[in-house]
Symmetry: C2
Subunit: 309 residues, 2 copies
Protein backbone atom coordinates (compact mmCIF):
# COMPACT_ATOMS: atom_id res chain seq x y z
CA UNK A 1 0.00 0.00 0.00
CA UNK A 2 2.48 2.56 1.26
CA UNK A 3 4.75 1.78 -1.69
CA UNK A 4 2.21 2.61 -4.34
CA UNK A 5 1.23 6.11 -3.18
CA UNK A 6 -2.09 7.85 -3.50
CA UNK A 7 -1.98 8.51 -7.24
CA UNK A 8 -0.87 4.97 -8.01
CA UNK A 9 -3.75 3.62 -5.98
CA UNK A 10 -6.37 5.76 -7.65
CA UNK A 11 -5.03 4.80 -11.07
CA UNK A 12 -5.18 1.17 -10.00
CA UNK A 13 -8.79 1.40 -8.89
CA UNK A 14 -10.03 3.21 -11.97
CA UNK A 15 -7.76 2.08 -14.82
CA UNK A 16 -9.16 0.03 -17.67
CA UNK A 17 -12.76 0.00 -16.44
CA UNK A 18 -15.56 0.65 -18.86
CA UNK A 19 -17.80 3.53 -17.84
CA UNK A 20 -21.49 3.60 -18.77
CA UNK A 21 -22.64 6.03 -21.49
CA UNK A 22 -24.06 8.53 -18.98
CA UNK A 23 -20.53 9.27 -17.76
CA UNK A 24 -19.45 12.45 -19.52
CA UNK A 25 -16.18 12.67 -17.60
CA UNK A 26 -14.81 9.80 -15.52
CA UNK A 27 -12.08 9.59 -12.89
CA UNK A 28 -8.86 11.59 -13.02
CA UNK A 29 -10.01 15.20 -13.01
CA UNK A 30 -11.03 17.50 -10.14
CA UNK A 31 -14.56 16.12 -10.44
CA UNK A 32 -16.56 13.76 -12.62
CA UNK A 33 -19.44 14.82 -14.85
CA UNK A 34 -22.60 12.72 -15.20
CA UNK A 35 -25.65 13.10 -17.40
CA UNK A 36 -28.72 14.28 -15.45
CA UNK A 37 -31.28 14.26 -18.22
CA UNK A 38 -34.21 14.36 -15.82
CA UNK A 39 -33.22 17.81 -14.52
CA UNK A 40 -32.98 16.43 -10.97
CA UNK A 41 -30.54 14.10 -9.29
CA UNK A 42 -30.83 11.74 -6.36
CA UNK A 43 -27.80 11.57 -4.04
CA UNK A 44 -27.08 9.36 -1.03
CA UNK A 45 -24.04 8.34 1.01
CA UNK A 46 -23.06 5.50 3.34
CA UNK A 47 -19.97 4.80 5.42
CA UNK A 48 -18.78 1.30 6.36
CA UNK A 49 -16.12 0.78 9.02
CA UNK A 50 -14.04 -2.36 9.50
CA UNK A 51 -14.96 -4.07 12.75
CA UNK A 52 -18.33 -2.27 12.89
CA UNK A 53 -19.98 -3.02 9.54
CA UNK A 54 -17.73 -5.76 8.24
CA UNK A 55 -14.92 -8.07 9.29
CA UNK A 56 -12.20 -9.11 6.88
CA UNK A 57 -11.99 -12.50 8.57
CA UNK A 58 -15.67 -13.07 7.70
CA UNK A 59 -15.81 -11.39 4.28
CA UNK A 60 -13.34 -10.94 1.46
CA UNK A 61 -12.50 -7.40 0.34
CA UNK A 62 -14.44 -8.17 -2.86
CA UNK A 63 -17.55 -8.95 -0.80
CA UNK A 64 -17.10 -5.81 1.31
CA UNK A 65 -16.81 -3.71 -1.84
CA UNK A 66 -20.02 -5.20 -3.21
CA UNK A 67 -21.86 -4.69 0.08
CA UNK A 68 -20.78 -1.06 0.41
CA UNK A 69 -22.01 -0.24 -3.07
CA UNK A 70 -25.20 -2.31 -2.68
CA UNK A 71 -26.27 -0.33 0.39
CA UNK A 72 -26.10 2.90 -1.61
CA UNK A 73 -27.73 1.51 -4.73
CA UNK A 74 -30.63 0.25 -2.61
CA UNK A 75 -31.14 3.78 -1.27
CA UNK A 76 -31.26 5.09 -4.84
CA UNK A 77 -33.77 2.38 -5.79
CA UNK A 78 -35.90 3.24 -2.75
CA UNK A 79 -36.45 6.72 -4.22
CA UNK A 80 -37.67 5.15 -7.47
CA UNK A 81 -34.45 6.08 -9.26
CA UNK A 82 -31.72 4.30 -11.18
CA UNK A 83 -28.06 4.92 -10.34
CA UNK A 84 -25.89 6.85 -12.80
CA UNK A 85 -22.56 6.85 -10.99
CA UNK A 86 -20.74 6.47 -7.70
CA UNK A 87 -17.78 8.12 -6.00
CA UNK A 88 -15.79 6.26 -3.40
CA UNK A 89 -13.62 7.36 -0.47
CA UNK A 90 -11.20 4.83 0.98
CA UNK A 91 -9.31 5.40 4.22
CA UNK A 92 -6.79 2.58 4.36
CA UNK A 93 -4.09 1.61 6.88
CA UNK A 94 -0.62 1.80 5.32
CA UNK A 95 0.07 -1.86 6.18
CA UNK A 96 -2.91 -3.03 4.08
CA UNK A 97 -1.91 -5.42 1.28
CA UNK A 98 -2.56 -4.01 -2.17
CA UNK A 99 -4.70 -7.08 -2.88
CA UNK A 100 -7.23 -5.75 -0.34
CA UNK A 101 -7.67 -2.52 -2.28
CA UNK A 102 -7.81 -4.42 -5.56
CA UNK A 103 -10.50 -6.70 -4.12
CA UNK A 104 -12.55 -3.80 -2.75
CA UNK A 105 -12.36 -2.01 -6.10
CA UNK A 106 -13.29 -5.10 -8.10
CA UNK A 107 -16.28 -5.80 -5.85
CA UNK A 108 -17.46 -2.21 -6.13
CA UNK A 109 -17.20 -2.26 -9.90
CA UNK A 110 -19.05 -5.56 -10.14
CA UNK A 111 -21.98 -4.43 -8.00
CA UNK A 112 -22.15 -0.99 -9.63
CA UNK A 113 -22.06 -2.57 -13.08
CA UNK A 114 -24.96 -4.88 -12.22
CA UNK A 115 -27.05 -1.76 -11.67
CA UNK A 116 -25.72 -0.03 -14.79
CA UNK A 117 -23.49 2.48 -12.99
CA UNK A 118 -19.75 3.12 -12.89
CA UNK A 119 -17.32 4.41 -10.29
CA UNK A 120 -16.57 7.86 -11.60
CA UNK A 121 -14.27 9.23 -8.92
CA UNK A 122 -12.74 8.75 -5.54
CA UNK A 123 -10.20 9.58 -2.91
CA UNK A 124 -7.72 7.28 -1.19
CA UNK A 125 -6.09 8.35 2.07
CA UNK A 126 -4.23 6.68 4.91
CA UNK A 127 -5.84 5.88 8.26
CA UNK A 128 -5.54 3.48 11.20
CA UNK A 129 -8.78 1.65 10.38
CA UNK A 130 -10.30 0.70 7.04
CA UNK A 131 -13.24 3.00 6.23
CA UNK A 132 -15.21 2.73 3.00
CA UNK A 133 -17.36 5.68 2.05
CA UNK A 134 -19.64 5.45 -0.97
CA UNK A 135 -21.86 8.10 -2.54
CA UNK A 136 -24.30 7.27 -5.32
CA UNK A 137 -25.99 9.62 -7.76
CA UNK A 138 -29.21 8.55 -9.47
CA UNK A 139 -31.69 9.52 -12.13
CA UNK A 140 -35.47 9.62 -11.62
CA UNK A 141 -36.18 9.21 -15.36
CA UNK A 142 -39.10 11.59 -15.13
CA UNK A 143 -40.78 9.90 -12.17
CA UNK A 144 -41.63 11.74 -8.95
CA UNK A 145 -39.27 10.71 -6.12
CA UNK A 146 -40.96 8.27 -3.75
CA UNK A 147 -40.25 9.54 -0.24
CA UNK A 148 -40.90 7.99 3.15
CA UNK A 149 -43.64 10.48 3.93
CA UNK A 150 -46.39 9.78 1.40
CA UNK A 151 -48.15 6.76 2.95
CA UNK A 152 -51.88 7.30 3.63
CA UNK A 153 -54.36 5.33 5.73
CA UNK A 154 -55.93 2.66 3.56
CA UNK A 155 -52.79 2.07 1.51
CA UNK A 156 -51.51 -1.45 1.08
CA UNK A 157 -48.03 -2.27 2.41
CA UNK A 158 -45.88 -4.19 -0.07
CA UNK A 159 -42.50 -5.86 0.18
CA UNK A 160 -39.98 -6.90 -2.47
CA UNK A 161 -36.75 -8.69 -1.63
CA UNK A 162 -35.37 -10.91 1.09
CA UNK A 163 -35.79 -10.58 4.85
CA UNK A 164 -33.72 -12.09 7.63
CA UNK A 165 -31.09 -13.72 5.43
CA UNK A 166 -28.27 -11.45 6.52
CA UNK A 167 -29.26 -11.85 10.18
CA UNK A 168 -29.27 -15.64 9.79
CA UNK A 169 -25.84 -15.51 8.15
CA UNK A 170 -24.52 -13.31 10.95
CA UNK A 171 -25.88 -15.75 13.54
CA UNK A 172 -24.07 -18.59 11.78
CA UNK A 173 -20.78 -16.66 11.62
CA UNK A 174 -21.06 -15.64 15.28
CA UNK A 175 -21.27 -19.30 16.24
CA UNK A 176 -18.00 -19.86 14.38
CA UNK A 177 -19.61 -21.74 11.47
CA UNK A 178 -19.15 -20.98 7.77
CA UNK A 179 -22.26 -22.72 6.46
CA UNK A 180 -25.02 -23.02 5.29
CA UNK A 181 -23.35 -20.98 2.58
CA UNK A 182 -26.59 -19.44 1.28
CA UNK A 183 -27.23 -17.42 4.43
CA UNK A 184 -23.56 -16.64 5.04
CA UNK A 185 -23.30 -15.38 1.46
CA UNK A 186 -26.41 -13.24 2.03
CA UNK A 187 -24.73 -11.62 5.02
CA UNK A 188 -21.57 -10.97 3.03
CA UNK A 189 -23.26 -9.61 -0.08
CA UNK A 190 -26.92 -8.51 -0.05
CA UNK A 191 -29.04 -8.84 -3.17
CA UNK A 192 -31.27 -5.77 -3.19
CA UNK A 193 -34.00 -5.83 -5.84
CA UNK A 194 -32.74 -2.70 -7.59
CA UNK A 195 -35.27 -2.80 -10.41
CA UNK A 196 -38.19 -3.04 -7.99
CA UNK A 197 -37.76 0.58 -6.86
CA UNK A 198 -38.43 2.25 -10.22
CA UNK A 199 -41.09 -0.42 -10.85
CA UNK A 200 -42.94 0.51 -7.64
CA UNK A 201 -42.64 4.21 -8.46
CA UNK A 202 -44.18 3.62 -11.88
CA UNK A 203 -46.97 1.59 -10.27
CA UNK A 204 -47.90 4.55 -8.08
CA UNK A 205 -46.17 3.76 -4.76
CA UNK A 206 -47.03 6.49 -2.26
CA UNK A 207 -44.01 5.91 0.01
CA UNK A 208 -40.96 3.67 -0.04
CA UNK A 209 -37.95 2.80 2.13
CA UNK A 210 -34.99 0.48 1.84
CA UNK A 211 -34.90 -2.04 4.70
CA UNK A 212 -31.42 -1.59 6.12
CA UNK A 213 -32.23 -1.58 9.85
CA UNK A 214 -34.90 -4.32 9.85
CA UNK A 215 -38.53 -4.56 8.73
CA UNK A 216 -40.05 -3.30 12.00
CA UNK A 217 -37.53 -0.48 12.42
CA UNK A 218 -37.84 0.74 8.84
CA UNK A 219 -41.62 0.34 8.82
CA UNK A 220 -41.45 2.55 11.92
CA UNK A 221 -39.41 5.15 10.02
CA UNK A 222 -41.92 5.15 7.19
CA UNK A 223 -44.86 5.39 9.60
CA UNK A 224 -43.27 8.26 11.50
CA UNK A 225 -42.36 10.21 8.36
CA UNK A 226 -45.87 9.73 6.95
CA UNK A 227 -47.70 10.38 10.23
CA UNK A 228 -49.55 7.08 10.01
CA UNK A 229 -49.66 3.69 11.65
CA UNK A 230 -48.63 0.44 9.99
CA UNK A 231 -50.11 -2.96 10.63
CA UNK A 232 -48.07 -5.99 9.58
CA UNK A 233 -49.62 -9.43 9.14
CA UNK A 234 -46.92 -11.85 10.32
CA UNK A 235 -48.43 -14.72 8.33
CA UNK A 236 -47.87 -12.70 5.15
CA UNK A 237 -44.21 -11.91 5.92
CA UNK A 238 -42.12 -14.23 3.77
CA UNK A 239 -39.94 -16.50 5.89
CA UNK A 240 -37.79 -18.69 3.67
CA UNK A 241 -37.75 -22.40 4.56
CA UNK A 242 -33.97 -22.14 4.50
CA UNK A 243 -34.12 -19.70 7.39
CA UNK A 244 -36.43 -22.00 9.34
CA UNK A 245 -33.87 -24.81 8.95
CA UNK A 246 -31.00 -22.58 10.09
CA UNK A 247 -33.02 -21.27 13.02
CA UNK A 248 -33.90 -24.79 14.04
CA UNK A 249 -30.24 -25.87 13.92
CA UNK A 250 -29.00 -22.83 15.88
CA UNK A 251 -31.93 -22.45 18.24
CA UNK A 252 -32.85 -19.13 16.62
CA UNK A 253 -36.18 -17.75 15.45
CA UNK A 254 -36.63 -17.32 11.71
CA UNK A 255 -39.62 -14.97 12.01
CA UNK A 256 -37.65 -12.80 14.43
CA UNK A 257 -34.82 -12.57 11.86
CA UNK A 258 -37.33 -11.64 9.16
CA UNK A 259 -38.97 -8.96 11.31
CA UNK A 260 -35.85 -7.40 12.82
CA UNK A 261 -32.82 -8.42 10.72
CA UNK A 262 -31.21 -5.62 8.74
CA UNK A 263 -28.87 -5.34 5.77
CA UNK A 264 -30.79 -7.42 3.24
CA UNK A 265 -31.98 -4.19 1.61
CA UNK A 266 -35.42 -5.36 0.59
CA UNK A 267 -37.78 -2.56 -0.40
CA UNK A 268 -40.90 -1.68 1.58
CA UNK A 269 -43.54 0.49 -0.09
CA UNK A 270 -47.11 1.62 0.30
CA UNK A 271 -49.53 1.53 -2.64
CA UNK A 272 -53.03 2.96 -2.97
CA UNK A 273 -55.68 0.34 -2.21
CA UNK A 274 -56.85 -1.28 -5.41
CA UNK A 275 -53.54 -0.91 -7.23
CA UNK A 276 -52.22 -4.27 -8.39
CA UNK A 277 -48.78 -4.72 -6.81
CA UNK A 278 -46.02 -5.10 -9.41
CA UNK A 279 -44.65 -8.57 -10.09
CA UNK A 280 -42.29 -9.64 -7.30
CA UNK A 281 -44.06 -7.57 -4.64
CA UNK A 282 -46.01 -9.18 -1.77
CA UNK A 283 -48.68 -7.59 0.39
CA UNK A 284 -47.58 -7.86 4.03
CA UNK A 285 -49.82 -5.36 5.74
CA UNK A 286 -51.79 -2.14 5.65
CA UNK A 287 -51.39 1.54 6.44
CA UNK A 288 -53.86 2.85 9.00
CA UNK A 289 -54.68 5.95 11.03
CA UNK A 290 -52.59 6.46 14.13
CA UNK A 291 -48.92 5.88 14.67
CA UNK A 292 -46.39 3.15 15.27
CA UNK A 293 -46.13 -0.39 13.98
CA UNK A 294 -48.22 -3.37 15.03
CA UNK A 295 -47.70 -7.03 14.19
CA UNK A 296 -50.97 -8.99 14.12
CA UNK A 297 -52.55 -6.11 15.99
CA UNK A 298 -49.99 -5.98 18.82
CA UNK A 299 -47.70 -3.01 19.34
CA UNK A 300 -44.00 -3.63 18.91
CA UNK A 301 -40.93 -1.70 19.82
CA UNK A 302 -38.88 -1.51 16.64
CA UNK A 303 -35.55 -3.12 17.42
CA UNK A 304 -33.20 -1.74 14.81
CA UNK A 305 -29.48 -1.63 14.52
CA UNK A 306 -27.99 1.31 16.42
CA UNK A 307 -24.38 2.18 15.77
CA UNK A 308 -24.05 3.85 19.17
CA UNK A 309 -25.99 1.47 21.41
CA UNK B 1 -21.85 10.62 21.45
CA UNK B 2 -22.73 7.05 22.33
CA UNK B 3 -25.74 8.27 24.30
CA UNK B 4 -27.36 10.09 21.42
CA UNK B 5 -27.40 7.26 18.87
CA UNK B 6 -27.13 7.44 15.12
CA UNK B 7 -30.57 8.90 14.41
CA UNK B 8 -30.21 11.51 17.13
CA UNK B 9 -26.89 12.58 15.67
CA UNK B 10 -28.20 12.91 12.14
CA UNK B 11 -31.17 14.92 13.37
CA UNK B 12 -28.76 17.13 15.31
CA UNK B 13 -26.60 17.79 12.27
CA UNK B 14 -29.45 18.56 9.92
CA UNK B 15 -32.22 20.02 12.08
CA UNK B 16 -33.26 23.63 11.68
CA UNK B 17 -30.91 24.43 8.81
CA UNK B 18 -32.15 26.34 5.83
CA UNK B 19 -31.62 24.53 2.54
CA UNK B 20 -31.07 26.47 -0.70
CA UNK B 21 -33.89 26.53 -3.27
CA UNK B 22 -32.25 23.91 -5.51
CA UNK B 23 -32.84 21.30 -2.79
CA UNK B 24 -35.99 19.43 -3.79
CA UNK B 25 -35.66 16.95 -0.92
CA UNK B 26 -33.28 17.43 2.00
CA UNK B 27 -32.00 15.09 4.71
CA UNK B 28 -34.09 12.38 6.33
CA UNK B 29 -35.09 10.14 3.45
CA UNK B 30 -33.24 7.31 1.70
CA UNK B 31 -31.63 9.90 -0.57
CA UNK B 32 -31.78 13.63 -1.25
CA UNK B 33 -33.02 15.17 -4.49
CA UNK B 34 -31.30 18.20 -6.06
CA UNK B 35 -32.18 20.29 -9.07
CA UNK B 36 -29.87 19.60 -12.04
CA UNK B 37 -31.26 22.11 -14.51
CA UNK B 38 -28.18 21.92 -16.73
CA UNK B 39 -28.84 18.27 -17.60
CA UNK B 40 -25.41 17.34 -16.26
CA UNK B 41 -23.96 17.20 -12.74
CA UNK B 42 -20.44 17.52 -11.41
CA UNK B 43 -19.57 15.20 -8.51
CA UNK B 44 -16.42 14.95 -6.38
CA UNK B 45 -15.43 13.42 -3.04
CA UNK B 46 -12.69 13.91 -0.44
CA UNK B 47 -11.82 12.10 2.77
CA UNK B 48 -10.07 13.73 5.73
CA UNK B 49 -8.61 11.65 8.55
CA UNK B 50 -7.71 12.90 12.02
CA UNK B 51 -3.97 12.82 12.53
CA UNK B 52 -3.34 12.74 8.77
CA UNK B 53 -5.23 15.74 7.39
CA UNK B 54 -6.06 17.59 10.59
CA UNK B 55 -5.30 17.62 14.29
CA UNK B 56 -7.90 18.59 16.85
CA UNK B 57 -5.19 20.14 19.02
CA UNK B 58 -4.35 22.50 16.12
CA UNK B 59 -7.84 23.12 14.72
CA UNK B 60 -11.30 23.30 16.23
CA UNK B 61 -13.98 20.91 14.92
CA UNK B 62 -15.63 23.97 13.32
CA UNK B 63 -12.44 24.70 11.38
CA UNK B 64 -12.09 21.05 10.34
CA UNK B 65 -15.67 21.05 9.08
CA UNK B 66 -15.04 24.17 7.03
CA UNK B 67 -11.80 22.78 5.59
CA UNK B 68 -13.38 19.44 4.61
CA UNK B 69 -16.16 21.18 2.74
CA UNK B 70 -13.83 23.79 1.21
CA UNK B 71 -11.65 21.11 -0.37
CA UNK B 72 -14.69 19.69 -2.19
CA UNK B 73 -16.14 23.04 -3.20
CA UNK B 74 -12.79 24.02 -4.69
CA UNK B 75 -12.89 20.87 -6.84
CA UNK B 76 -16.36 21.84 -8.06
CA UNK B 77 -15.15 25.38 -8.83
CA UNK B 78 -12.17 23.97 -10.73
CA UNK B 79 -14.57 22.37 -13.21
CA UNK B 80 -16.22 25.76 -13.79
CA UNK B 81 -19.28 24.73 -11.78
CA UNK B 82 -21.20 25.99 -8.77
CA UNK B 83 -22.11 23.61 -5.92
CA UNK B 84 -25.75 22.61 -5.42
CA UNK B 85 -25.46 20.31 -2.42
CA UNK B 86 -23.21 18.13 -0.29
CA UNK B 87 -23.55 14.81 1.50
CA UNK B 88 -21.34 14.03 4.46
CA UNK B 89 -20.13 10.80 6.05
CA UNK B 90 -18.79 10.93 9.59
CA UNK B 91 -17.00 8.03 11.25
CA UNK B 92 -16.69 9.05 14.88
CA UNK B 93 -15.20 7.35 17.95
CA UNK B 94 -17.87 6.66 20.59
CA UNK B 95 -15.94 8.66 23.21
CA UNK B 96 -16.14 11.84 21.09
CA UNK B 97 -17.91 14.71 22.87
CA UNK B 98 -21.10 15.76 21.18
CA UNK B 99 -19.67 19.27 20.92
CA UNK B 100 -17.14 17.93 18.39
CA UNK B 101 -19.89 16.73 16.07
CA UNK B 102 -21.85 19.95 16.58
CA UNK B 103 -18.73 21.96 15.70
CA UNK B 104 -17.98 19.89 12.60
CA UNK B 105 -21.56 20.27 11.41
CA UNK B 106 -21.68 24.02 12.06
CA UNK B 107 -18.40 24.52 10.17
CA UNK B 108 -19.63 22.47 7.25
CA UNK B 109 -22.89 24.40 7.05
CA UNK B 110 -21.07 27.74 7.22
CA UNK B 111 -18.64 26.92 4.41
CA UNK B 112 -21.32 25.30 2.25
CA UNK B 113 -23.61 28.28 2.76
CA UNK B 114 -20.90 30.69 1.65
CA UNK B 115 -20.91 28.90 -1.68
CA UNK B 116 -24.69 28.75 -1.86
CA UNK B 117 -25.03 25.03 -1.11
CA UNK B 118 -26.56 23.00 1.71
CA UNK B 119 -25.83 19.69 3.36
CA UNK B 120 -28.58 17.50 1.99
CA UNK B 121 -27.72 14.13 3.49
CA UNK B 122 -25.26 12.09 5.46
CA UNK B 123 -24.33 9.05 7.45
CA UNK B 124 -22.88 8.86 10.97
CA UNK B 125 -21.17 5.67 12.14
CA UNK B 126 -18.81 4.66 14.92
CA UNK B 127 -15.08 4.13 14.38
CA UNK B 128 -11.77 4.22 16.23
CA UNK B 129 -10.52 7.33 14.40
CA UNK B 130 -12.40 10.43 13.26
CA UNK B 131 -12.90 10.31 9.48
CA UNK B 132 -14.79 13.02 7.59
CA UNK B 133 -15.95 12.19 4.09
CA UNK B 134 -17.56 14.88 1.95
CA UNK B 135 -19.12 14.61 -1.50
CA UNK B 136 -20.21 17.69 -3.43
CA UNK B 137 -22.58 17.90 -6.39
CA UNK B 138 -22.38 20.89 -8.72
CA UNK B 139 -24.08 22.57 -11.63
CA UNK B 140 -22.30 23.75 -14.79
CA UNK B 141 -25.03 26.33 -15.60
CA UNK B 142 -24.69 25.61 -19.30
CA UNK B 143 -20.91 25.94 -19.45
CA UNK B 144 -18.65 23.20 -20.76
CA UNK B 145 -16.73 21.53 -17.92
CA UNK B 146 -13.13 22.76 -17.76
CA UNK B 147 -10.96 19.67 -17.43
CA UNK B 148 -7.24 19.28 -16.76
CA UNK B 149 -6.59 18.11 -20.28
CA UNK B 150 -7.42 21.07 -22.51
CA UNK B 151 -4.26 23.21 -22.20
CA UNK B 152 -2.55 23.94 -25.54
CA UNK B 153 0.91 25.28 -26.34
CA UNK B 154 0.75 29.05 -26.48
CA UNK B 155 -1.89 29.33 -23.77
CA UNK B 156 -1.32 31.69 -20.88
CA UNK B 157 -1.15 30.19 -17.37
CA UNK B 158 -3.26 32.08 -14.83
CA UNK B 159 -3.64 31.84 -11.08
CA UNK B 160 -6.38 33.00 -8.72
CA UNK B 161 -6.15 32.62 -4.95
CA UNK B 162 -3.50 32.27 -2.30
CA UNK B 163 -0.32 30.19 -2.41
CA UNK B 164 1.88 29.04 0.47
CA UNK B 165 -0.31 30.37 3.28
CA UNK B 166 -1.34 26.96 4.58
CA UNK B 167 2.26 25.72 4.37
CA UNK B 168 3.46 28.74 6.33
CA UNK B 169 0.78 28.16 8.96
CA UNK B 170 1.74 24.50 9.22
CA UNK B 171 5.40 25.50 9.68
CA UNK B 172 4.37 27.81 12.50
CA UNK B 173 2.26 25.15 14.22
CA UNK B 174 5.03 22.56 13.86
CA UNK B 175 7.37 24.86 15.75
CA UNK B 176 4.84 24.97 18.56
CA UNK B 177 3.73 28.56 17.89
CA UNK B 178 0.16 29.76 17.44
CA UNK B 179 0.87 33.01 15.61
CA UNK B 180 1.05 34.95 13.34
CA UNK B 181 -2.64 34.21 13.31
CA UNK B 182 -3.16 35.06 9.62
CA UNK B 183 -1.08 32.11 8.38
CA UNK B 184 -2.24 29.74 11.11
CA UNK B 185 -5.85 30.61 10.24
CA UNK B 186 -5.06 29.95 6.57
CA UNK B 187 -3.83 26.47 7.46
CA UNK B 188 -6.91 25.79 9.54
CA UNK B 189 -9.44 27.09 7.02
CA UNK B 190 -8.53 27.71 3.36
CA UNK B 191 -10.21 30.46 1.40
CA UNK B 192 -10.65 29.07 -2.10
CA UNK B 193 -11.84 31.62 -4.66
CA UNK B 194 -15.03 29.70 -5.48
CA UNK B 195 -16.41 32.29 -7.88
CA UNK B 196 -13.21 32.35 -9.91
CA UNK B 197 -13.86 28.89 -11.35
CA UNK B 198 -17.10 29.67 -13.18
CA UNK B 199 -15.58 33.08 -14.07
CA UNK B 200 -12.57 31.42 -15.74
CA UNK B 201 -14.84 28.96 -17.55
CA UNK B 202 -16.92 31.84 -18.93
CA UNK B 203 -13.73 33.63 -20.01
CA UNK B 204 -12.73 30.63 -22.11
CA UNK B 205 -10.26 28.77 -19.85
CA UNK B 206 -8.93 25.73 -21.73
CA UNK B 207 -7.91 23.75 -18.62
CA UNK B 208 -8.20 24.22 -14.87
CA UNK B 209 -7.13 22.54 -11.64
CA UNK B 210 -7.54 23.22 -7.95
CA UNK B 211 -4.17 23.54 -6.20
CA UNK B 212 -4.45 21.06 -3.36
CA UNK B 213 -1.03 19.40 -3.62
CA UNK B 214 1.04 22.51 -4.39
CA UNK B 215 1.54 24.73 -7.45
CA UNK B 216 4.35 22.66 -9.00
CA UNK B 217 2.66 19.33 -8.34
CA UNK B 218 -0.72 20.43 -9.67
CA UNK B 219 0.82 22.27 -12.64
CA UNK B 220 2.47 18.91 -13.31
CA UNK B 221 -0.91 17.14 -13.20
CA UNK B 222 -2.36 19.66 -15.62
CA UNK B 223 0.64 19.38 -17.94
CA UNK B 224 0.51 15.60 -17.93
CA UNK B 225 -3.24 15.44 -18.55
CA UNK B 226 -2.94 17.95 -21.40
CA UNK B 227 0.23 16.45 -22.92
CA UNK B 228 2.05 19.78 -22.73
CA UNK B 229 4.84 21.49 -20.84
CA UNK B 230 4.33 24.36 -18.44
CA UNK B 231 6.78 27.18 -17.78
CA UNK B 232 6.35 29.18 -14.59
CA UNK B 233 7.91 32.60 -14.10
CA UNK B 234 8.88 32.69 -10.42
CA UNK B 235 8.93 36.50 -10.39
CA UNK B 236 5.24 36.45 -11.37
CA UNK B 237 4.24 34.01 -8.64
CA UNK B 238 2.55 36.03 -5.89
CA UNK B 239 4.45 35.75 -2.62
CA UNK B 240 2.68 37.70 0.10
CA UNK B 241 4.88 39.96 2.19
CA UNK B 242 3.35 38.30 5.25
CA UNK B 243 4.84 34.99 4.15
CA UNK B 244 8.24 36.60 3.66
CA UNK B 245 8.10 37.87 7.24
CA UNK B 246 7.11 34.47 8.61
CA UNK B 247 9.78 32.74 6.55
CA UNK B 248 12.36 35.17 7.81
CA UNK B 249 11.35 34.57 11.44
CA UNK B 250 11.33 30.78 11.10
CA UNK B 251 14.26 30.40 8.72
CA UNK B 252 11.89 29.17 6.00
CA UNK B 253 11.59 30.08 2.32
CA UNK B 254 8.44 31.93 1.28
CA UNK B 255 8.87 31.22 -2.44
CA UNK B 256 9.29 27.52 -1.67
CA UNK B 257 6.03 27.58 0.28
CA UNK B 258 4.30 29.33 -2.63
CA UNK B 259 5.64 26.82 -5.17
CA UNK B 260 5.14 23.62 -3.21
CA UNK B 261 2.67 24.27 -0.37
CA UNK B 262 -0.71 22.60 -0.74
CA UNK B 263 -4.20 23.02 0.72
CA UNK B 264 -4.77 26.69 -0.08
CA UNK B 265 -7.00 25.60 -2.98
CA UNK B 266 -6.10 28.42 -5.35
CA UNK B 267 -7.19 27.80 -8.94
CA UNK B 268 -4.72 27.34 -11.80
CA UNK B 269 -6.02 27.66 -15.35
CA UNK B 270 -4.81 28.05 -18.90
CA UNK B 271 -6.36 30.62 -21.22
CA UNK B 272 -5.93 31.14 -24.95
CA UNK B 273 -3.26 33.76 -25.70
CA UNK B 274 -4.87 37.15 -26.20
CA UNK B 275 -7.76 36.48 -23.81
CA UNK B 276 -7.89 39.09 -21.06
CA UNK B 277 -7.65 37.22 -17.76
CA UNK B 278 -10.70 37.77 -15.54
CA UNK B 279 -10.40 40.18 -12.62
CA UNK B 280 -8.49 38.55 -9.76
CA UNK B 281 -6.43 36.29 -12.03
CA UNK B 282 -2.66 36.76 -12.48
CA UNK B 283 -0.50 35.48 -15.32
CA UNK B 284 2.26 33.32 -13.83
CA UNK B 285 3.53 31.43 -16.84
CA UNK B 286 2.88 29.87 -20.21
CA UNK B 287 1.93 26.55 -21.74
CA UNK B 288 4.48 25.20 -24.22
CA UNK B 289 5.24 22.14 -26.32
CA UNK B 290 6.87 19.27 -24.49
CA UNK B 291 6.20 17.95 -21.03
CA UNK B 292 6.85 18.64 -17.38
CA UNK B 293 7.09 21.86 -15.43
CA UNK B 294 9.93 24.38 -15.48
CA UNK B 295 10.49 27.34 -13.19
CA UNK B 296 12.41 30.15 -14.91
CA UNK B 297 13.43 27.62 -17.55
CA UNK B 298 14.80 25.01 -15.15
CA UNK B 299 13.21 21.61 -14.74
CA UNK B 300 11.75 20.81 -11.35
CA UNK B 301 10.60 17.67 -9.69
CA UNK B 302 7.11 18.40 -8.43
CA UNK B 303 7.18 17.86 -4.69
CA UNK B 304 3.58 17.31 -3.75
CA UNK B 305 1.90 15.89 -0.73
CA UNK B 306 1.79 12.10 -0.83
CA UNK B 307 -0.42 10.33 1.67
CA UNK B 308 1.63 7.16 1.43
CA UNK B 309 5.18 8.51 1.32
Amino acid sequence: MAELGEFGLIARITAGRELPPGTLLGPGDDAAVLVAADGRVVVTTDVLVEGVHFRLDWSTPHQVGRKAVAANLADVAAMGAVPTGLVVGLAVPGRTPISTVDGLAAGMWLEAGQAGAGIVGGDVVSSEQLVVSVTAVGDLQGRAPVTRSGARPGDVLGLCGRLGWSAAGLAVLRRGFRSPLAVVAAHRVPEPPYGAGPQAASAGATAMIDISDGLLADAGHLAEASGVGIGIDSAAVPVASRLVEVASALGGDALHWALTGGEDHALLASFPAGVALPVGWTKIGVVREGRGVTVDGCEVLPAGWQHFP
